[in-house]
Each structure stands twice: as structure tokens, then as C-alpha cells.
């Protein structure tokens, strides 16, 4: 039963980690646009920015 002494803190810490991760994702607005998120993975802006030179001022 001595194993409980560190297993319980480990279990609780893992749970708390999940909670903190959720609260962080909520705070950083990851739940604001659930429909958009699934499309954004197709967006390769970050790659394109390196390849193609920036346009001039669009106006």
C-alpha cells in the first residue's frame, strides 16, 4: 500500500494538468471558432510567407 503515497499525487497531478490545459485553451480563445478551426489546418500561410515575396501596399 506504500505505492499509494506517490501514485495518488501522480494521478491528481495528471488530472490537474488536463484541467489547466483546458482552462488555458479556453482563455486563448480556441473555442471561439469551432467551425473555422477545421478549415485552418488546410491553410499553409506560414509556408507561403517564406516562398512568395510580399505584395505591395494593396490600396
Amino acid at each position: 500500500m506504500e505505492v499509494l503515497v506517490f501514485l495518488i499525487p501522480v494521478a491528481l497531478a495528471l488530472g490537474a494538468l488536463g484541467l489547466v490545459a483546458f482552462l488555458w485553451s479556453l482563455r486563448s480563445g480556441q473555442y471561439d471558432d469551432l467551425d473555422g478551426a477545421k478549415w485552418r489546418i488546410l491553410n499553409d500561410d506560414d509556408v507561403a510567407a517564406e516562398r512568395e515575396p510580399q505584395d505591395n501596399d494593396p490600396t
Binding site: M1, G15, D35, G36, L42, D55
Partner: protein, 755 residues
């Protein structure tokens, strides 16, 4: 209206770090590629710190540094990319509900975490009780559970504690009172048991209950937020702004919240009047159908009064804004609205009605148990333990889930059918309705005029006239363009305000406008009017050929006749209460076969009629869209409004429906009746559970295992019963997305081609 004349800065909100932030409803987002186009296009502009498009709500949030850029350029860039943007009126946005949703979500996360981890210990204890757990290990687990459950409940239970506190201070009781007492009682008893080293504690039940309740609340809140967001977008797309004339004569487009009495505003032909006021200069015809229901146009000139929500048809007007003093139409409507809303607040929700009965019974039973055991000579501490376990076993877990679970399922079904609920309790009231009162204009009929005798018109003429009509801002011109499905405007077209549009095509002059403008024969006009006495008309002429007349009417919604028949078959009594003249009202009533049709009703008359029906014991569902309907919508037992309705009517209606069809009205009633049935069943399940469990608890036979099984068992039954509503509903139609009205899209194409 060009973007240059709109005072975009008035819509921007300063951010704490010295920048500016603008939120825009963006039209024309059809696919995921638009996200990249818009964000990249705006992001490349100098001075833009961030541009983020929310695909769910179709809103774009732009942050920029004040000096480096200005909102006008953001909007012109968007327009160049092919998207039309409409700003939100900052005076109208409410951040509170957003914060409330986040708070519920946080509380739910904490309760969920606590419930899972406390359950971990509880299962170990239950398993240990059956085998060989030592008393010390059990105590350790109980203390650890307490260590997790107490702070979690203190945080996550706040929404319930606050609501219960408010109710008690007002000397009322609601559902949250027994919930709060149950949770606090459970935790206190468990702590007491743990301190004494007893084998039972109920931390798991308390936090599990909290988690389920928060889940129900969150889903309910989400439903309301979804409705509001669609309604806000529609309001922004309709650009509820005013063109304010500055003392130096310049015209700037500003949000309505920045217009003060005494200001002068310009109302161009084809625009809605956005304020109450007196005409200073100019003359025009005004369509008041949205305000009074009256479909005939009214001529106005200097000194005449115009009302917010009416449509300016022919000429430009300068209007002096009047204060909303007593006697103006809007003030009258507002006054009636307040009175009506107050009358309705006496309605009590099913759950609260049950709670009012339930709470005293439970509390009396617990007290009687305590006194009874003492009278039998038991130790007072043991008697207290049994009394509290009565409270726990009756803790309204199933009862609290009974209503919200059904509401969430039913509102999801309604959403798929194009009905957006403002309030969860609207379902109960919809189910109770036995009379449906319709407004006519814009409710039974389409909000926009539609072309008559379309099959008699030469398609080539219609197509040519439609192309020319694309350049017109007149409502009939826009309707013609829509009927012709025109999409390429003529580049040479010019608008002659108050008369029509004209263009040179292949060396011939094309004209579209009033019969006079095109030189149409009087007898032809008279013949058309004889056929369609209520019609408005537009004439089209090409070169020297004889002019062609197009007649328009606000036609019935395409499925109105079927839906009315279905409603009648469902046992509902139907009525029309309209502000329009008797002629058109009688015509519509005859077409639909509705015997009770009242015409020429003012807002106060409409309320009086609803009151009379109420006196006869009827529960009335009011369906209406106009400003003149707003008080009636608030006064009716329950109300529906099309999403094209004026803002005030939307706000006073219990639910909105989307699209051109009337079918959602029938769907709403049918779904609500099924949902009400499931709610009542759920309440009975909860009652039966209590009838079985309470005597056992009073007798002192309830062990924690029985309590846990009984509680979760009843919750699961109730939830499954709610989900049953969805069976056989898989093929329900998808909701029409928040599509912009077609004329706006056409106008965007027209602008793009002109640029």
C-alpha cells in the same frame, strides 16, 4: 452608399494598448479559402496588428495602430477582395453574456475534474468495502476527496448559489434553492462523517451533480448565444445606421447610437428611415408597411413626420431627428412593450413551478424524519445523519436534468429546422398554444415584393430589364433584378432619383422606372390595376418600342397555404391581426381560409385582441414582424418573428425563424409539443424515483451504494428519455445559414463591376 461617406471611426473601439479594434459582419464568406484570402489581404496592409476571421459567426475582428491605418481602407480592401463588410454598432453589443458563457465553461471544467478524481477514490472505496480495505486507507481517501470536492464545489457551485440567494432575498424559491441546499448539505454531512471516521461519505454525489447541472446550464446558454449571434449579424447586414448631415454640409454614415435628437440625417431613396423625425427638405413616398402594416405608400413633404423602420421610396429627404418624447410612434410602442413584458413575467416556468411544490415537501419530510427518529429515542446525531440522507436522496438531480436535457435536445432540433430560440422556456409556452395569431405583411406574405404574372412576360425582355434594374436602389427595381436572376449590371446605367434608371445599349436608350418616366399608356396601367388592385408597378422601355409593365405584390410565403392547413389539422385556431387596410387583409384571409381576420389594427388594438383571447382562456402564439407587432409579440403567451423583422420585434419575440417559408411555425409547435411531453414524462420519472427512494431513506436503509446507483440511474433514464426526441429525426433539413439577403449580394456584384 459609398464607403467613403461612412464614418467608420465611429464604429471602432479603442483598445487599452492604444490601438483600435473594429468588428465587422462579413458577407459572402462561402468556403474555407475565404478565411485565408481575407486574413492575408487585410494582414498585409500597413499598421494592421491582427485580422482574425471567425468562420462560425462570420465576423472579422481587426486590430490596428491608430496612426498607421484607418478603417475606411480596411473596408475598401475587403470590398476589393470581393466581400462586403458591415460594422457592428458598438452601443448595442453586450459582452456580458459572452463572459457568463465562459464562466460557466470554466466552472464546468473544474466540476468535471473534481468529479472524475473523486470518483477515482469512491470506486476504490466501494471495491475495498467488498474486499479488505483498512479503516485508515478509507479515511485517507475520504480526506483526499474532501480536499478536492470542497474547493471545487465552492468555485463551480457559484452560479447556483448566487441564483438561489437572489431568489431567497426576493422571498421566492426557484430550482436553485433545493439544488444549493442539497449540495451544501451533502458536503457538510460528508465532512462530518469523514471527521468521525465513518465508512460513508458522499463527496462524489455532490460534485457529480454539480457537473451535470452545469452541463445543462452551459448548453442552454449556448443555445441563446447562437440565436443572438445570428440576429446580430442580420441586424448589421441591414446596416442600422444613419447618414448624419454635419453643420458644414458633409454627410457621414454613423451608428444609430451616435445620433442625437436635433441632428439632421439624410435619407436617400431606397433606404430605410432609421430615426423618428420631421422632414426638413425634400419630398418622397414612404412605405410604412413595416411600421403600421399598411401597404399603400404615403406621400411626405417638409413638415411631415416620418418614423424609424419605414422605407423611403422615391426622393431624398433631410430629416430633423426628434426626441423620443411621448406621443411619437416609437415611444408609444416602447411604452406598450414595457407593460406587455411586465404582464408576461408573471408566467412561471415548469421547473420553477415544480420546485415551488417540491422544496417545501422535501424540507418538511427531512424535518419530520429528524423529529420522528428523536421521538423514537434515537441519538440526535444519528437522527441528523438520517435526515440529511433524506435530503441527499431527494436532491433533485433527475429533476434538475429533466427539463434542461429536453430543452437542449428540442432547441437543437428546432435550430436544424430554422427556428432560433431566445429562451429555453419558450418550448413549454409554444406547446401550450392553442390559437395562432398572424400579422399579415411580412409574416404571411414575403418581406420583399415578388413579380406577378411572371409566365406572361417575354423572358428576353425580363432579362434585359433585370440587368438595368441591377443599377437601381428602388425596392421594386431590386425585386425585378432578383426575379430576372440578373447578375451583370450595365456599366453605362445612371440613376435618376425618384424617376428610374436609364442606360444606352447598342445605340438604344433603355429606361426602367415609373410608368410616367417610360411614357406608358394610361389605359395599360388601368388595365393592370384592374387585374391586380394591390399591385405596385414598374415600366421598362427600349428605344421606341412600347413600354412593358411589370406588376409587383408582396406575395404569400410559398408554403403558407399548406402550413395553415397543417396548423388547423393540429387543432389550432387561426387568426389574422393586421394593421393593413381591410381589402388586402380579406384577400389573404380568403386565400388561406382563415375566417377571423382583423384589419386596421393599431398596436394597442392588437394587444386588446390578445387580451380578449386570453380572457377566453386561450394561449396565443403571435407571429409578427413589424414595429407595430412588437408590443403584441411581447404580450402574447409566446411569439415568433421572421429574421427579417425589425430589431425591436426580434428582441420581443421568443424565437426567430429563418428563410422564406412559413413551415418553421408549424415545426416549432410540433417539436415543442413533443418536447413538452418528454418533460412531463421526465418529471414523473423523477417523482417515481422519489416515491421509492424517500421511504427507504426515511427508514434509514439507504447505503451509499444504493444512493449512488439510484441517483445516477434516474439521471441516465431522464437523459435518455430526452434524447428519444431525436429518434427518427436524422433526415431533418439543415438550417439555412445566415445568408445575406439576395439584393445585397447583387449590389456587391454591381459595385465590383463598376469599380
Amino acid at each position: 452608399m459609398t464607403t467613403q461617406t461612412r464614418d467608420w471611426a465611429a464604429f471602432a473601439v479603442p483598445t487599452p494598448d492604444g490601438g483600435c479594434r473594429l468588428e465587422l459582419a462579413v458577407e459572402g464568406i462561402t468556403c474555407a479559402a475565404c478565411i485565408g484570402d481575407i486574413e492575408r489581404g487585410i494582414g498585409r496592409m500597413p499598421g494592421i496588428r491582427s485580422a482574425r476571421l471567425n468562420y462560425t459567426t462570420r465576423r472579422l475582428a481587426v486590430d490596428w495602430t491608430v496612426d498607421a491605418s484607418d478603417p475606411t481602407r480596411i473596408v475598401t480592401t475587403l470590398e476589393r477582395l470581393g466581400y462586403r463588410a458591415h460594422p457592428f454598432d458598438p452601443g448595442r453589443r453586450s459582452a456580458e453574456e459572452e463572459a457568463e458563457t465562459r464562466r460557466l465553461l470554466r466552472a464546468m471544467a473544474v466540476a468535471g475534474f473534481a468529479a472524475m478524481n473523486v470518483m477515482l477514490f469512491s470506486v476504490s472505496i466501494w471495491a475495498g468495502n467488498a474486499t479488505d480495505i483498512t479503516g485508515e486507507t478509507r479515511d485517507l481517501f475520504h480526506w483526499l476527496s474532501a480536499f478536492i470536492a470542497l474547493p471545487a464545489a465552492a468555485y463551480a457551485g457559484q452560479p447556483f448559489f448566487e441564483s438561489a440567494g437572489r431568489a431567497l432575498r426576493a422571498l421566492r424559491t426557484n430550482m436553485d434553492v433545493p439544488i444549493s441546499i442539497g449540495i451544501v448539505g451533502t458536503l457538510a454531512l460528508s465532512l462530518w462523517q469523514t471527521a468521525r471516521g465513518e465508512p460513508e461519505a458522499y463527496f462524489d454525489s455532490a460534485v457529480m451533480l454539480l457537473f451535470f447541472l452545469l452541463l445543462g446550464r452551459f448548453l442552454d446558454q449556448n443555445m441563446r448565444r447562437r440565436t443572438r449571434s445570428v440576429a446580430e449579424n442580420v441586424a448589421a447586414l441591414r446596416a442600422e445606421t444613419a447618414a448624419r448631415v454635419a453643420p458644414d454640409g458633409t454627410v457621414r454614415e454613423v451608428p444609430l447610437s451616435k445620433v442625437d435628437p436635433g441632428d439632421r440625417v439624410l435619407v436617400r431613396p431606397g433606404e430605410r428611415v432609421s430615426v423618428d423625425g420631421v422632414v426638413e427638405t425634400g419630398a418622397s413616398d414612404i412605405d410604412q408597411s413595416l411600421v403600421t402594416g399598411e401597404t399603400n405608400h404615403v406621400g411626405v413633404g417638409p413638415g411631415d413626420r416620418v418614423y424609424a423602420g419605414t422605407l423611403n421610396i422615391t426622393g431624398a429627404l433631410t430629416v430633423q431627428v426628434t426626441a423620443a418624447t411621448e406621443g411619437t410612434l416609437l415611444a408609444e410602442v416602447n411604452r406598450l412593450l414595457e407593460a406587455a413584458a411586465q404582464a408576461k413575467s408573471s408566467y412561471m416556468r415548469l421547473a420553477d413551478r415544480v420546485a415551488r411544490l417540491y422544496a417545501p415537501v422535501v424540507h418538511t419530510a427531512a424535518l419530520a424524519t429528524f423529529l420522528g427518529w428523536i421521538a423514537l429515542g434515537t441519538d440526535w446525531r444519528h437522527a441528523l445523519v438520517i435526515a440529511v440522507s433524506v435530503l441527499i436522496i431527494t436532491c433533485p438531480c433527475a429533476l434538475a436534468l429533466a427539463i434542461p436535457a429536453v430543452q437542449v435536445v428540442a432547441s437543437g432540433q428546432l435550430f436544424r429546422r430554422g427556428v432560433l430560440l431566445h429562451a429555453g422556456d419558450a418550448i413549454e409556452r409554444l406547446a401550450a398554444a392553442d390559437v395562432v395569431a398572424f400579422d399579415k405583411t411580412g409574416t404571411l406574405t414575403l418581406p420583399e415584393p415578388a413579380i406577378l404574372d411572371a409566365d406572361r412576360i417575354d423572358p428576353a425582355v425580363l432579362a434585359a430589364a433585370g440587368r438595368l434594374a441591377l443599377s437601381s436602389r428602388h425596392p421594386l427595381g431590386m425585386a425585378l433584378a432578383r426575379a430576372a436572376r440578373a447578375d451583370r449590371p450595365l456599366p453605362s446605367a445612371t440613376e435618376r432619383p425618384g424617376e428610374g434608371v436609364e442606360a444606352m445599349v447598342d445605340g438604344e436608350l433603355e429606361q426602367l422606372g415609373s410608368a410616367q418616366f417610360c411614357g406608358a399608356d394610361e389605359w395599360a396601367v388601368a388595365a393592370l390595376l384592374a387585374r391586380h388592385p394591390e399591385a405596385s408597378m414598374v415600366a421598362y422601355r427600349r428605344g421606341n418600342r412600347p413600354p412593358v409593365l411589370f406588376a409587383f405584390d408582396q406575395g404569400l410565403r410559398p408554403d403558407a397555404i399548406d402550413v395553415v392547413a397543417d396548423l388547423r389539422a393540429a387543432g389550432l385556431k387561426l387568426e389574422i391581426i393586421s394593421g393593413d387596410r381591410p381589402g388586402p387583409v380579406a384577400a389573404i384571409a380568403e386565400k388561406l381560409g382563415i375566417a377571423d381576420a382583423l384589419a386596421g389594427q393599431h398596436p394597442a388594438d392588437k394587444i386588446a385582441r390578445l387580451e380578449a383571447l386570453h380572457q377566453q382562456g386561450h394561449k396565443v402564439l403571435m407571429v409578427g414582424d413589424g414595429l407595430n407587432d412588437a408590443p403584441a409579440l411581447a404580450a402574447a403567451h409566446v411569439s415568433l418573428s421572421p429574421v427579417t423583422a425589425v430589431h425591436l420585434s426580434q428582441a420581443s419575440a421568443d424565437a426567430l425563424f429563418l428563410g422564406n417559408r412559413l413551415r418553421p411555425v408549424y415545426d416549432a409547435i410540433r417539436t415543442a409539443r413533443a418536447a413538452k411531453g418528454a418533460m412531463v414524462q421526465n418529471l414523473w420519472i423523477a417523482v417515481i424515483y422519489n416515491v421509492i427512494a424517500v421511504p427507504l431513506a426515511v427508514a434509514g436503509y439507504v447505503t451509499p451504494l444504493i444512493a449512488a446507483l439510484a441517483m445516477s440511474g434516474s439521471s441516465i433514464i431522464v437523459t435518455v428519455n430526452a434524447l428519444r426526441l431525436r429518434w427518427g429525426d436524422a433526415g431533418a433539413p439543415q438550417p439555412p445559414a445566415s445568408q445575406p439577403p439576395i439584393p445585397d449580394r447583387l449590389r456587391r456584384l454591381a459595385d465590383a463591376e463598376a469599380a
